[in-house]
Symmetry: D3
Amino acid sequence: MKKIKVAVLGCGAIAQRRHIPEYADNPNVELVAYADPVIERAEEMAKTYGGKSYTSYEELLKNEKVDAVSVCSPNYLHAPMTIAAANAGTHVLVEKPMASSAEEGEQMIEAASRNGVYLMVGHNQRLMPPHVKARELLESGQLGKVLTFRTSFGHPGPESWSVDGRASWFFRKDEAIMGAMGDLGVHKSDFIRYLLNDEVTEVAGFIGTIHKEETDVDDNATCILRMKSGAIGTLMASWTHYKGGDNSTVLWCENGVMKIGTVDGDEVIVELIDGTSETYKVGAMATNEKQVPSGVIDSFIESILTDTPPAISGEEGLRSLKVILAAFESQATGKIIKL
Amino acid sequence: MKKIKVAVLGCGAIAQRRHIPEYADNPNVELVAYADPVIERAEEMAKTYGGKSYTSYEELLKNEKVDAVSVCSPNYLHAPMTIAAANAGTHVLVEKPMASSAEEGEQMIEAASRNGVYLMVGHNQRLMPPHVKARELLESGQLGKVLTFRTSFGHPGPESWSVDGRASWFFRKDEAIMGAMGDLGVHKSDFIRYLLNDEVTEVAGFIGTIHKEETDVDDNATCILRMKSGAIGTLMASWTHYKGGDNSTVLWCENGVMKIGTVDGDEVIVELIDGTSETYKVGAMATNEKQVPSGVIDSFIESILTDTPPAISGEEGLRSLKVILAAFESQATGKIIKL
Amino acid sequence: MKKIKVAVLGCGAIAQRRHIPEYADNPNVELVAYADPVIERAEEMAKTYGGKSYTSYEELLKNEKVDAVSVCSPNYLHAPMTIAAANAGTHVLVEKPMASSAEEGEQMIEAASRNGVYLMVGHNQRLMPPHVKARELLESGQLGKVLTFRTSFGHPGPESWSVDGRASWFFRKDEAIMGAMGDLGVHKSDFIRYLLNDEVTEVAGFIGTIHKEETDVDDNATCILRMKSGAIGTLMASWTHYKGGDNSTVLWCENGVMKIGTVDGDEVIVELIDGTSETYKVGAMATNEKQVPSGVIDSFIESILTDTPPAISGEEGLRSLKVILAAFESQATGKIIKL
Amino acid sequence: MKKIKVAVLGCGAIAQRRHIPEYADNPNVELVAYADPVIERAEEMAKTYGGKSYTSYEELLKNEKVDAVSVCSPNYLHAPMTIAAANAGTHVLVEKPMASSAEEGEQMIEAASRNGVYLMVGHNQRLMPPHVKARELLESGQLGKVLTFRTSFGHPGPESWSVDGRASWFFRKDEAIMGAMGDLGVHKSDFIRYLLNDEVTEVAGFIGTIHKEETDVDDNATCILRMKSGAIGTLMASWTHYKGGDNSTVLWCENGVMKIGTVDGDEVIVELIDGTSETYKVGAMATNEKQVPSGVIDSFIESILTDTPPAISGEEGLRSLKVILAAFESQATGKIIKL
Amino acid sequence: MKKIKVAVLGCGAIAQRRHIPEYADNPNVELVAYADPVIERAEEMAKTYGGKSYTSYEELLKNEKVDAVSVCSPNYLHAPMTIAAANAGTHVLVEKPMASSAEEGEQMIEAASRNGVYLMVGHNQRLMPPHVKARELLESGQLGKVLTFRTSFGHPGPESWSVDGRASWFFRKDEAIMGAMGDLGVHKSDFIRYLLNDEVTEVAGFIGTIHKEETDVDDNATCILRMKSGAIGTLMASWTHYKGGDNSTVLWCENGVMKIGTVDGDEVIVELIDGTSETYKVGAMATNEKQVPSGVIDSFIESILTDTPPAISGEEGLRSLKVILAAFESQATGKIIKL
Amino acid sequence: MKKIKVAVLGCGAIAQRRHIPEYADNPNVELVAYADPVIERAEEMAKTYGGKSYTSYEELLKNEKVDAVSVCSPNYLHAPMTIAAANAGTHVLVEKPMASSAEEGEQMIEAASRNGVYLMVGHNQRLMPPHVKARELLESGQLGKVLTFRTSFGHPGPESWSVDGRASWFFRKDEAIMGAMGDLGVHKSDFIRYLLNDEVTEVAGFIGTIHKEETDVDDNATCILRMKSGAIGTLMASWTHYKGGDNSTVLWCENGVMKIGTVDGDEVIVELIDGTSETYKVGAMATNEKQVPSGVIDSFIESILTDTPPAISGEEGLRSLKVILAAFESQATGKIIKL
């Protein structure tokens, strides 16, 4: 079989730790090029995994004939890079949040559609085994309707994650657009939509820069969500969970409770009102400190190879983004926002 | 020492399970009278603990010379009973929520003040050993500033608690005024104010009747709170936590996290960023299924005996109530409410 | 609804501890008569649960018009009582082992059929929640084909179970016919057939009286079974597991292992070759010391009320019995017996 | 002291992982030669541990004057190599199963005897600390007579153990003669004889190729054993315990139960009918994944040095082999086989 | 068999909780009389267990023909009562400490000897299953020589144990002679002698009334002991272990450590230098809060019935007492005392 | 800032494992010289950490202008080296025991004082986080007065610690002066004084060479201590805790018990008589096998940099030493020694 030629646009932490190694592990992929304004990063990747390096992604797209790209740049570049790549006829896997605004998101979808390429958004939470198992259990119906929920994602901030540490673009508003909400919140708006197979209809949020200094991006957000089904819940995203951070979700349902990521090693726990309980050890929940293969790259390549729409489409990414944008709007306007 | 003569107005679950037994156990108290429109209840208390029984609390106040009363009626009667008792010159311990509206609350405070009697509100959460320990630890400063929090109180509903089961006034809006929010939410607005020694400045909430049938009182509420200090957090009150209900609070702070009521038997856990941790086993957190002496009655009697203002004043109770009322207003208006 | 009139033939341990209390708890049942040659036992039941007492079951069947009977006698009477009851037009629930020989079993089935009544065998293992869950999990296919298994049931002997202690009919060969094999082995031959939804095709067994004194009934049996599907396994039944007795089953399958009743409190454990595992806490496994409602009586009554064939038919009971009889034949002939 | 000169015949997994390293660690041994038809293997050993390499064991025996050999070849060569070595005047340590047939076994014993050399069989299970402790405890008498037992040894198959993986001689019947039974079953027939200090008198077995493809050696066996003492039990050997495999033995005795290898870390557990229990942590049970020094080599060398008969003689090895052969005969003839 | 007629002299806590119930449970005993200056106590025992009651033990001994007595009086009466009983021709079981001085002890031994009756001392620690097991393990030799040890016995004081609470004779020096040392210390001097099968040769001690008010008996003692074998260790007896009290002993030996009573439920733990360990669950260690049958009474009766010297002789009790007396002498003289 | 120039006198285990690496990690220190009669040791340190090497410490002091020295020599050299260094005008950190006699200790203090340099003693136990936390908790007053205590420090001996193994100076009396008491006992006399903020007033001890062969230094000591406050307790130091050694302290107080170093991972446990308990995980207790940074070097350097008296002064070290010397005197004279 011919291999899929892949380029990676942006060679920071997410590219180095997940996209590039997972492409390298996929037998159907040939990594052919890397772009990063800090050329040393691109060169290091080229040296390690093979392929060429570029300072400019436009140059890369002009010079290389690739089948697919991963967009791993700072948030503000997600849209322009994606659109440029789509226009160059390549399939695109873009990191989350897919865009800085709903308009950008729609243009990205339109560009992919117009060029006949696939657009996938890197919402890896959907592919994590505990989350897959949780949805499967919920769909089995044993828990009945979801009534209330809480979902949260917190860690001590991107300082230790980003290759640039405290000097990372994550803290510069013009590049990051969003902080904890773009980094973590959109993961949970996406996950709750996926898990409940439901849409968010109303959002209110308190978002702010509570503790990080010399930055004006949000380091914390607490939101309430109302779902189309009537379920209500809370969503918390934080860069200041210096201890006690997690990636957990609890669903209180008609027939019991489902706890995801609340107990180390017991990833999914179901407790039913009949007194029985079930525990599923299905593989660790990824955190910043403990990376596990995301499955996103394999899923993207599978989509291309089999010519089937990607598991996490641009439309899905956009809907999850809109929840977060609504929370920002709530913070700005003092109103509960309807979607 | 002369004993404090006490009457109890309303002889339902809270009176039977907490107020009356705790008065009976207090050596400085003489229980002299009980009022309940269902006279059998009052009579049963009189038979068990001594004293007289009345159908009408007005009659009781007219005929008996008591030093203090407990108001244990359905919510809509908290204000009129309190005011009548204050006017009769007795100290008043009123159950939470102290009133149906802020106006009522203010009238109660005014009545007590005018008659030179004490008004205490039964926010027993403040006196629970894990909560006392948590505040003490927070005040020690080791955790630094509180940045974000979540607090929740959930159980399967008052059906199994109330002496009338599903037919309880808890489900009738004209008597209860509020459902899960009045039963549980106001406990947590009071507790978070007490724990953080801080005031709520903004509230948004989704409140509704999601699962209980044939009632229009709220069975669930999810709220976001912003504190004067800048901390933000979530508050959840639920009558539909059929499994997985608890009375827990987590504070993420500058130097670590404090977990209250999250692990059975380890009531307060402090985990610090220096890698150390502390566990305090200080006595169980009370839940509906597991009652422990509240301490409220002893505190109220101590206040009277020593002629010092009660530990939980009407003003405190009113501030906690206003948070809940603001959440209802948020639900009604679609706005974030400033306090 | 008219209540089902029930008589109980034989008032020993199984009648006193399971049949009669479970009939008494079933709102659709009226207990009308009891028979036991030790009339005091029948009288005590009549006094406690209402109804009449008889020394002779023939008299009972002649005098009482009952809808259904439970046959709780020593093994050698299972067949004659069942046939008599069927001929009297009553539905029959007979304890296991259903008969002393295959011929008797066939006659019982024939008698029920001819009289248009239901015949159910008390193989309660099929209804125990861990066993139901185990079969459900096996049917889901995740474990693939069962390759090998072991199943065992052991306790210290019927001395402490029987109302007559060491003097029990359990130890008299002419009444018991079989010892540990009839008491426990037939439970496991029935359970393994049910769990694997498969039939036993070959059996070999070592059966003997190894440790109990002054009795010639078997106190131990170790057997090997080959199933139609090709799976092979061991079956052990013991009355001399003075410590370390259990009621456990392990299935080694293509994709992992299922452990039933091997860990107290974790009734069903599934470990898969992909490294994940699942634990189901679904209610305790009944042992002699720890009785739980069997569900057999409710199931029998449901069958009568809804006029649907019983969950555990005479044919099923007979097939399970034949496995045990084959083990005895193997012991007697020194041959592996084909079924 | 003069060192014992040792040669190793066959350089596959067992030689590489146990025999050769353990000889190398023994200060009284000099490794002088290695034979393997795949000469690279012999050469690699020679390079690592010193000595010469041969393609043919006959050549080796002709050219080298050695004191002792280890026979680590495929099963069908155990007898010819052993006899040739004995005839060459060297002591022999032969891996289990010692031979392909009882006749071969007898010839090996006779050859050793005739040549005045020692013959030891590598039944390392006898030397594992938990097994040594178990026998010691059993001999102390506190448990009384053994009544019933089960012993099993299961793993996912020799694919991951053999240096040739799935292409191993383990799967070729003409070289292996036996599969799981020769690999694992004979370990347990030997161990149960050793542990109970008793002999097997009757055997029945179901043996087959249930799941491994493209091989006709047995991948599973379930047997029943009757001991001279009257105890009966089951023996299971499996190459398809893909999960849940172990090397465990349970003895139900007059005064309690002994569990060996059933709980990780608690290698021997004794539970007595007086309610007391004892736990012995005496070092891990070796499995294919977790190798521990076998002690077999040191014991063999000790025997030579002190000129005392080896701990595990040819006669012992033969008796254990005959149990397995009887199980095969049972499978072939449909009869229970007496020994 | 004729029953042993027993009288009990002194009917306080130890008589009520251990001696009398254990006599009553022994089928070979007939309780015939009780003496106590507080006649109500003797009468209550007589009413409950049968027999007569006396104010004066002299009267009892004069009027009743008994085979044996238990001396359960305050310490200062142990000697006179024992001697009187021996002179009356009855066997004597005397509580510990056997006497107030060595001279008394010797007179008691002499009186028993002269009258041909047995004298046993109630050092029940020797009969507790964990202690019996510990000695058995030590005697097996696996641990080698004992080098150092610590043994301690602490609880919050006899206030909650004595039938007279804080007004107990335990706190009156003229009656108790010794406090914690007589109550607890002598248990440990006896136990360490028994466990090590060794004699104490040197003692130093700090003994005092550190915390109990309005009493001049010792509430605490810390001692060092040197044994004939050369082992050295510490002995602590305390009535002020308000929390963290236990009855534990640790022996550090040549080959490992033995821990007795240090872990709830794991009564005896042996850890060897070869890395193995053994845990013995042999029945709880008795404490004041958790009484278990002492075995002392049965042992005393067995001695009489079989006419064999008692397991814990007067000579043994005297040697253990002398250790304690030496500690007092050390405290008084500022010297290390040789025995 | 100018760096503190440091020399290390004696380059054995304590210098290699703690002093030198901790100086090297301190940014304010420059290691300039090392002295050791075994010049290879000094050279190796010089090579690894920079600086010069000397055979003679006198030469070093003559040739090098250093600000501070660590004295890490055998015990008998502590005093002469310290005095020489002080006379050379350098601050001194001396290992424990600070001297061989009280006179030496006083001379050292005097020399430091006369030369205007600081003298610090390496009692690192005071700086270990569990010990710091324990003292902080004790000072908070919640436990009330300490009544009794036990403290012990045991390991298998310095054989495995010293760079010279069994040939270490630790076993030569003329160089070591003291054995386990100087190595471990003085740690605990210092710690108990520090923890209780109290002084020892009386000591008795049994000290001897119980098990180590070919040495006459003490390998074991058991002592009793009386504190000025009235508390009494035991102190054990051992080189023959081949298993079960630890560094633990238990304080029984008026309001509860404090356990330090008794449970792996739970370094400080407080159990109060009100039933509550607190657990502090504050970092491991250092043992010989598990070294953690001592903090002593940083504290010493801080003292010099800030020109404040050292945390652990010569006077403190001397008082702790005197307790140990008193124990030796008790052993020698058979008397309890007053301090």
